[in-house]
């Protein structure tokens, strides 16, 4: 797949430029379910994208499914509850491990053990991330085996409609919003399997969920110290880059320790910050045209020109 990933679009709109750069003709299918109840407030997007758009209305369709298929709805809620609990336990484990890592790094500072201890701490955090990813994936697979969403009549009917819409467009555009809702709806209707030769334009949360791994991050949240956390595997329409939208609000790029940790923790993926209007393109193998985007490096610095 080829496409473009973009930063937020509220203050600087670059959707039209991204679509032009991809060069694919025809109308665009929209996913705005991350906006939840505001899903249909997409009136600005046709002019911003410079094309006719057709909203897939995945949020509305999802609500219809949950209302019509009570058995599915019950199982869906139960799984969501489990996912929330697992996420909370993972977060607790992560916080304690980070506390330990900080304490050890203070005590080991300046000693021969410093580098080794740092490496061990990082390995522990990466292992916790990986185990969480595997656990969530196993839960999802078990759920799908149990309820077989694609075979349920109400979902199958919506999929047929979606397939028809997607067969008449060349680009799938995924807006940001609530990433868990985006993931749920994209998975509920198996949208990835309905794509053929489509190009992708995804911004902010949309860029995050369409990758291989969804990472939640905010380094100065109101409730205290912000440690990023893995949510789950993404839809997998692009790989190799972990998009970090809106760095001015959410990251502390001037703190080398945080930048270095983030970069090492999610390696080999490249952690790429995308501010308002920034975008980068990909063709399935290479990344290019990264102007404005910022790479977080393992040495704690940031840089541009990372696709060269």
């Amino acid at each position: 797949m080829r496409g473009a990933l973009l930063g937020p679009q509220q203050l600087k709109v670059s959707l039209g430029d991204a679509v032009s750069a991809i060069g694919r003709e025809g109308p665009i299918a929209l996913v705005t379910c991350g906006w939840q109840e505001r899903e249909d407030q997409d009136e600005d997007l046709p002019s911003q994208l410079g094309r006719k758009t057709i909203n897939l209305k995945l949020y509305e369709r999802g609500e219809q499914v949950l209302a019509a298929d009570k058995v599915f709805a019950k199982a869906h809620r139960a799984r969501q509850d489990q996912l929330r609990q697992i996420q909370e336990f993972y977060r607790l484990r992560l916080e304690r491990t980070f506390d330990a890592a900080l304490a050890i790094s203070r005590k080991a500072a300046g000693t021969d053990l410093e580098a080794d201890e740092l490496r061990l701490s990082m390995e522990q955090v990466r292992r916790i991330d990986q185990e969480h990813l595997e656990r969530v994936s196993a839960l999802r697979e078990a759920h799908e085996l149990q309820v077989r969403p694609m075979e349920r009549p109400v979902i199958a009917k919506h999929r047929e409609e979606l397939k028809k819409i997607l067969s008449n467009v060349g680009i799938l555009a995924v807006a940001g919003g609530h990433v868990a809702v985006l993931m749920n709806r994209l998975r509920m209707f198996g949208v990835k399997d309905l794509l053929n030769d489509h190009a992708l334009v995804a911004w902010s949360g949309g860029a995050m969920v369409t990758g291989e791994r969804v990472v939640l991050f905010h380094e100065s949240p109101p409730e205290g110290f912000g440690i990023s956390e893995v949510l789950e595997q993404g839809i997998g329409l692009h790989s190799g880059v972990l998009p970090l939208p809106n760095p001015r609000l959410r990251l502390k790029l001037d703190e080398p320790l945080r930048v270095g940790w983030l970069s090492k923790r999610y390696a080999p993926d490249k952690c790429v910050a995308m501010d308002q209007g920034d975008f980068v393109q990909f063709d399935g193998e290479k990344w290019f045209g990264e102007e404005g985007t910022i790479l977080l490096k393992t040495d704690g610095t940031v840089g541009t020109g990372w696709t060269h």
């Binding site: 109840e37 209302a67 940001g176 919003g177 990433v179 949240p221 956390e229 939208p245 809106n246």
Partner: protein, 382 residues
């Protein structure tokens, strides 16, 4: 403030104290005068004496202002650490009689059920902007609610806050607030909820804003209150509203005696509540016997706290506790923390340079609520 520069009042003291000089001084400053860590309180008038009345634990409750000779100006300079908030009044003495007034030179005032006080903001303190109405934040609604109570053999009415995007198909956490109407009136709780929900810092919450006709009695570890809340009010709310209905979705909150009511209710029903938000709780205790110096209203509190201190048990998963450094209850609250830590409770404890008042409790709401109920901020990337 440059540490070498002289306080404005010291400069004034050196010069002439005639009317025009004082007039010019008053006109060129706002009062109280905040200069670094020093605050100078001033009062102008033909009186026999002026006293600063404040409730800062560790300082005298009453301190005389000094008379600037040959003038009608009274002044007192105190050390007020940065980011402090201090509520106070002046006692004006005329002909041997004193009466209390708000500082006529200070526009800042805080209200509570007993009236109003003047407020001085130490350097670096500002009223948090999330406590003020944000026109972009969609307001939630307040719905009347009535519960028949067998525990009290009467009918209890209160208000229920529903978030702006309330939907019957969703499930919400429940925050059960003691002294709810006072929290709304004096701590801007409704505005705070609207704003924090709008900013995604807390999730959509349903909030029961309850009160009591006899809070001093009912909030002091009264078995009937715990039964009313746990077996009557909350089941009724969970039956008629789309609530999570599990410990992680139930939070008890209260300040002062409301904090005692929250803790004692959770102690009586371990495992039922998952979250506690306790502000300046009146957690009086004694190490020997049940004597206390705070008066008869505290007797049941002391008995409860002494029992709890003997056998601290895990009563919730998470608790946020805050207290003002300027209030005498700081001792009791600080004492509670290590004890709760032994129960494996996930705990966050915060102290503020403030007193036993509603604006202190208001200013801690963001940190407390967002810690107990982290919002979708981490989930939403527009």
């Amino acid at each position: 403030m440059d540490p070498l520069s002289e306080l404005a009042i010291e400069v004034l003291k050196k010069g002439p104290h005639d009317g025009p000089t004082i007039d010019a001084f008053m006109k060129s400053h706002s009062f109280p005068l905040v200069e670094g860590g020093k605050v100078t309180f001033c009062f102008r008038g033909q009186v026999d004496g002026v006293h600063l009345k404040s409730w800062v634990y560790g300082l005298p409750n009453s301190q005389p202002l000094h008379h600037l000779s040959d003038s009608d100006l009274w002044h007192l300079t105190l050390d007020i650490p940065p980011k402090s908030r201090v509520e106070y009044k002046f006692e004006i003495v005329r002909n041997g009689n004193g009466h209390w007034i708000e500082d006529p030179l200070n526009p800042f005032r805080a209200t509570d059920p007993f009236g109003a006080n003047s407020v001085v903001h130490g350097e670096g303190y500002s009223i948090p902007e999330w406590t003020q109405v944000d026109p972009d934040a969609r307001p939630g609604t307040l719905e009347p609610w009535v519960v028949k109570s067998k525990a009290f053999n009467d009918t209890r009415g209160f208000l229920v806050y529903l978030p702006a995007r309330f939907r019957k198909t969703r499930r919400y956490p429940l925050l059960f607030v003691h002294d709810g109407p006072d929290y709304v009136r004096f701590a801007n709780l409704k505005t705070v909820l609207d704003n924090l929900i709008h900013r995604l810092e807390i999730p959509d919450l349903v909030v029961a804003l309850t009160g009591s006709p006899n809070r001093i009695g009912e909030y002091a570890d009264d078995e009937r209150h715990a039964r009313y809340v746990t077996e009557e009010a909350i089941p009724d709310l969970e039956a008629r509203l789309p609530l999570i209905g599990q410990p992680r979705g139930r939070c008890l909150m209260g300040a002062s005696f409301g904090g005692v009511a929250s803790l004692s209710t959770a102690v009586r029903y371990p495992g039922f509540y998952g979250r506690l938000l306790l502000q300046s709780g009146s957690f009086a205790f004694s190490d020997i016997g049940h004597q206390n110096k705070r008066g008869p209203a505290f007797e049941p509190v002391v008995k409860f706290m002494n029992r709890f201190r003997e056998n601290p048990v895990l009563v919730a998963d998470k608790a946020f506790i805050s207290c003002g450094m300027h209030e005498s209850l700081i001792y009791e609250n600080r004492s509670l923390i290590p004890m709760l830590q032994t129960t494996q409770l996930e705990l966050k404890y915060v102290e503020a340079r403030d007193g036993h008042n509603w604006e202190n409790w208001r200013d801690r709401l963001r940190e407390g609520l967002s810690w107990l109920f982290p919002g979708p901020l981490r989930m939403v990337y527009e």
